[in-house]
Amino acid sequence: MDFANLVAQLNAGTILPEGIIIATLLLVLVGDLIVGRTSSRWTPYVAIAGLLAAVVALYFQWNNPNSISFLGGFNSDSLSVIFRVIIALSAALTILMSVRYVEQSGTSLAEFLVILLTATLGGMFMAGADELVMTYVSFETLGISSYLLTGYMKRDPRSNEAALKYLLIGASSSAIFLYGISLLYGLSGGETRLTAITANILANNVDQSIGLLIALVFVIAGIAFKIAAVPFHQWTPDVYEGSPTPVVAFLSVGSKSAGFALAIRLLVSAFPAVSEQWHFVLAALAILSMLLGNVVALAQTSMKRLLAYSSIGQAGFVMIGLVLGTEAGYASMIFYLLIYLFMNLGGFACIILFTLRTGTDEISEYSGLYQKDPLLTLCLSVCLLSLGGIPPLAGFFGKLYLFWAGWQAGAYWLVLLGLITSVISIYYYIRVVKMMVVKEPEEMSEAVKNYPAVNWNLPGMRPLQVGVVFALVTTSLAGILSNPLFTLANNAVLLTPMLQPTITTIQPAPNPATPGYADLESETKEAIEG
């Protein structure tokens, strides 16, 4: 069998974006080996170009009728496309903000990029994995590269400690996850393709067995570790505190999005028999995450830890969309992740910038920053306010859609809790904004008093500036001009066959007769046809 034939049979075109990233990765690696340290001048841009090229390639995968590839191992439906876009974009933004950071720490940039690209690759494969082995391999690819990234600051003991802890907890939860999918494998009579598992389970008549339930909980535990849902979140504060900030940014957006992609695919296609149970478990995790994430964030004094806990809370909000099981629920979740990508990474970019200039990330050190660096203050304020859901910023519209979908689906308590906790979250976000803006000059902190002159011409600062400004613009405008993103998120759900039967047969929408819901559906369909 010749190569072209093989490619056609495997439908390998679907992993073209990943192929591009692998090529970029090799280019960076080999280029660095040949040229040496001076390669750091061009490697980040090559990596970003590769990621953007992958995004372009993904654009052409949109609504691909022949999405199954590798004999059922990989599925490139619209759902996976949109998640892969999110992951690739988050990696690109992370690179923008890490150039200066890594340079300043005196470690090699190319290696960092290679590991980050590997992690991205793992995440992207995870978003499309349609088979148990594939799922586990990509899960571990993402995991192991994340451990490496966490420990990247070799000389910093905190970074080492974080990496070790992350590795240990990660290993134990991945063991649980592996156990879960092996149970699934057994129950389905030796089937690894997610789509075939349900049929086999039903055929084997084990859909009421406790084994399936245990498999479900184990799998959820593995995923919850990735998305840092309470009570599987314990690693986050330590790891976020210790690891390099760009890595934290990537973990909180890219890695989480991959986790969510896996959650949708695995739970919807492999566990319809116990859908009631998985909705219940996830609802519990969502409630715990929203409560604990937002309440504990109140007491934080370090900006990094604050964002760590807030990202736990944010994951709780996103899980609302997952729990609903309606089309609008999934769409709102994707929409929120799209917005979260920009606002959270924007926030991290600002923190990195501040840390680079002052060497600290204590919240109290931010006081009076407005006097010295208005751009940074503006961007950080916009991103934080957007995270808190203040209109008319993007985050408000994201939350609005999530809660609206929840209300439509009848999840009143979840929405109510979401509202209450997002009010709590506004408090700690605004506290930082107030600290930066309101303070009189004499109340300025030491760090701000010694603030260096703003100089964007230092090597590696330009990309950071680009990242900050890009996040600022998107976060402020994506809400008002949210229609394209909104349509994108809706179409991603509507064009995904996997999510369609769930809605009509297994998990009927609680209130399909509601006019708003029906209209939304028909309208979005029109939009697709039109």
């Binding site: 802890k165 240990l168 535990a221 330590d238 149970q277 229609n483 708003g516």
Partner: protein, 696 residues
């Protein structure tokens, strides 16, 4: 012609672009841009000029019978909820576009002379342009949401411009007062918009009216509720058009530079309220209760404003109350169903009131060279007098404006006011009587103003009057701040010369001088419509009415109207017109007896009817009542809330802090940094979840 409609969005965008460009320049390269005074003003003026030409083309095309043009794009959609943006060009819009652009254009030319020595010259032009853009955007809005957006924008511009001299305390207070008062109305408007959306599912003007009628007729919505919604919407115009009880901000708004008073607080923005009523006319029309409330509010405001204007000595305050009174006329006309008449008065008033304000600005400008840059002296009519000799162009144009507002034929104001009074009489004679009486008072106070300013002897060098004015001012301040709050010596050194005009040559001349050509030219240009524009709406050949009519009605007579409609009754017109001219003449005669030939001593009249005089002088004590009820009341409330805050909320917060501390302490044991312990929790959680989900 089609292409001018396709590019009609340029009308608001052009001034916006100008404002943005200059604004950006000021923010980033303040010093350099501030030096480009002529350059920026010519730039901004030519942009608004282009918009004006565009508007005239649109008006001409509409007169030629072009059908209304709509252009809508979808802005946001969620489910069955659609938000659209766009613009609509119909008769009403094209007329308003022309009014706004012409007045704005002339005011901007005038500004060059008036603000010539102000350090904020360029900033002022940027604001002016931003305001024009918002106002034009408001006029072309096709739906309520967009109207609301621009409504807030013009409000914001008004705030910025009233407080333009933000280093003057009075200006800073006034802009806040305007803003807060407008908030009250805007909140009502917002509630009204939302309620109407709830009831009808639409933000489009016509759809709302039609659907609401249907709902009311089918009985699914009670008339009372529909009227309530209409009145909520009407609260917006009440605040913006300075109707009782939300009129208090307009006189204070005169702290802003005079071109602003002319453009925003006389000709355009305050008319936005009337414009909105016109836009929402299909809604109000079917609700007699709402119409009655509108008509009575208007009538009362008209009378209130006129009665206060009688005793005002500050020339701008006098004009401000007169504006309020004239706006009352327009609102009354709307409430009486006289759609065309109200808008006709809006148009004529825009021109002659803009001219009067610009004239007063010219007077103040002239006075400042004698008495210095203290608004207490420069704006007080008791120090003026005899100015006609020194500033003839200003005096003649001011006289034309005075005649127009007093309703003397053939000046513009006569035709519009007569039409309002005529249509009101058919609806309710009591309303007519109030309007008629007000017309007399209007003529009286306007001629009082004219005589005090331009006739008689010049009193600008009279020190005893100056001292008296200073004392009065200190007294007022003392009242406002409470006795002993401030050392009076501080005040005397504090008040004058707050904004820097020191470079102004001829500071201490003995006589006022005529203003430069950039100021008199707009006055003369505005005088032309003030005289002639009324002729388009004469009762025997009413071109205006044929052009502007409610959306639901067909034109009364075809367009252009035939010679004289057969049913036109000369006798009725003569009786109506004659009676209003008659009372105006009585007013003028009284004014001339009291302030020109001094046959009657106004002071004596004031003494004999002391309570009435005080009522008028103190603006019916409305400000004091508001101060006692709302300002003090809300302060008291704030104090109580503070108590609650300190005791209960802080208590809860402290408790929460304590809880967080305790949980934090507890969590410390959970977050103890030992990885094996974390793994234990993971396994424990897995076990727990299995158990819980297994049981349920």
């Amino acid at each position: 012609m089609e292409f001018i409609y396709q590019y009609a969005w340029l009308i608001p965008v052009l001034p916006l672009a100008g404002a943005m460009l200059i604004g950006m320049g000021l923010v980033s390269y303040g010093k350099t841009v501030n030096k480009f005074r002529q350059g920026s003003s010519v730039f901004i003026v030519s942009l608004i000029g282009a918009a004006m030409v565009f508007s005239f083309a649109l008006l001409w095309s509409q007169i030629q019978g072009h059908p209304p043009y709509n252009r809508i794009i979808e802005w946001a959609a969620a489910g069955d909820f659609h938000l659209t943006m766009g613009y609509t060009i119909d008769h009403l819009t094209s007329l308003m576009l022309v009014i706004v652009t012409t007045v704005a254009f002339l005011v901007m030319i005038y500004t060059d002379g008036y603000m010539a020595h102000d350090p904020g010259y360029v900033r002022f032009y940027a604001y002016l342009s931003l305001f024009s853009s918002s106002m034009l955007g408001l006029v072309i809005s096709p739906n309520l949401v967009q109207v609301y957006i621009f409504w807030e924008l013009v409000g914001m511009c008004s705030y910025l411009l009233i407080g333009f001299w933000y280093d003057r305390k009075a200006a800073a207070d006034a802009c806040q007062k305007a803003f807060v008062t407008n908030r009250v109305g805007d909140f009502g408007l917002l509630l009204g918009i939302l309620a109407l959306y709830w009831a009808t599912g639409s933000f489009e003007f016509n759809e709302i009216g039609d659907r609401l009628q249907e709902l009311v007729q089918s009985g699914s919505l009670s008339v009372g509720l529909a009227s309530l919604f209409a009145i909520l919407v009407f609260l917006g115009p009440v605040a913006k058009s300075a109707q009782f009880p939300l009129h208090v901000w307009l006189p204070d708004a005169m702290e802003g530079p005079t071109p602003i008073s002319a453009l925003i607080h006389a000709a355009t923005m305050v008319a936005a309220g009337v414009f909105l009523i016109a836009r929402m006319f299909p809604l109000f029309e079917g609700l007699p209760d709402a119409m009655n409330i509108i008509a009575w509010t208007g009538a009362f405001t008209a009378f209130l404003g006129a009665s206060i204007a009688i005793t005002q000595n500050d020339i701008k305050k006098g004009l401000a109350y007169s504006t309020m009174s004239q706006l009352g006329y327009m609102v009354m006309a709307m409430g009486a169903g006289a759609y065309g008449a109200g808008l006709f008065h809006l148009m004529t008033h825009a021109y002659f009131k803009a001219m009067l304000f610009l004239g007063s600005g010219s007077v103040i400008h002239g006075m400042e060279s004698v008495v210095g840059h203290d608004p207490v002296f420069a704006q007080d009519m008791r120090l003026m007098g005899g100015l006609r000799k020194y500033m003839p162009a200003t005096a003649i144009t001011f006289l034309i404006g005075t005649l127009a507002i007093s309703g003397i034929p053939p000046f513009a104001g006569f035709w519009s006011k007569d039409e309002i009074l005529g249509s009101t009489f058919e609806v309710n004679p009591i309303l007519w009587a109030i309007g008629w009486l007000t017309a007399g008072i209007t003529a009286f106070y306007m001629f009082r103003m004219y005589f005090m300013t331009f006739e008689g002897e010049f009193r600008g060098k009279n020190d005893s009057i100056k001292n008296q004015l200073k004392n009065e001012q200190l007294q007022r301040l003392g009242l406002a701040f409470g006795p002993g709050a401030m050392n009076s010596k501080e005040l005397t050194t504090d008040v004058p010369e707050l904004h820097d005009h020191e470079a102004h040559e001829g500071h201490h001349s003995d006589t006022p001088h005529e203003s430069p050509a950039t100021m008199t030219l707009p006055l003369i240009l505005l005088a032309i419509p003030s005289i002639l524009i009324g002729l388009v709406g004469t009762p025997f050949a009413n071109y205006f009415e044929a052009f502007i009519h409610p959306p639901g009605e067909e034109a009364i007579a075809g367009f252009p109207p035939l010679e004289i409609p057969a049913e036109f009754e000369w006798t009725e017109f003569l009786v109506m017109g004659g009676s209003s001219v008659g009372i105006a003449l009585i007013g003028i005669t009284l004014a001339s007896l009291m302030y020109l030939s001094f046959k009657i001593d106004p002071g004596a009249i004031a003494k004999t009817s002391q309570p009435l005089y005080n009522l008028s002088l103190n603006k019916w004590y409305i400000d004091d009542i508001y101060n006692a009820v709302f300002v003090k009341g809300s302060r008291r409330l704030a104090r109580q809330v503070l108590e609650v805050d300190v005791r209960i909320v802080d208590g809860i917060v402290n408790l929460a802090g304590l809880v967080t501390l305790i949980t934090g302490e507890g969590l410390k044991y959970l977050e103890n940094g030992r990885a094996q312990f974390y793994a234990l929790i993971v396994f424990g959680a897995v076990l727990g979840l299995v158990l819980i989900s297994g049981i349920t």
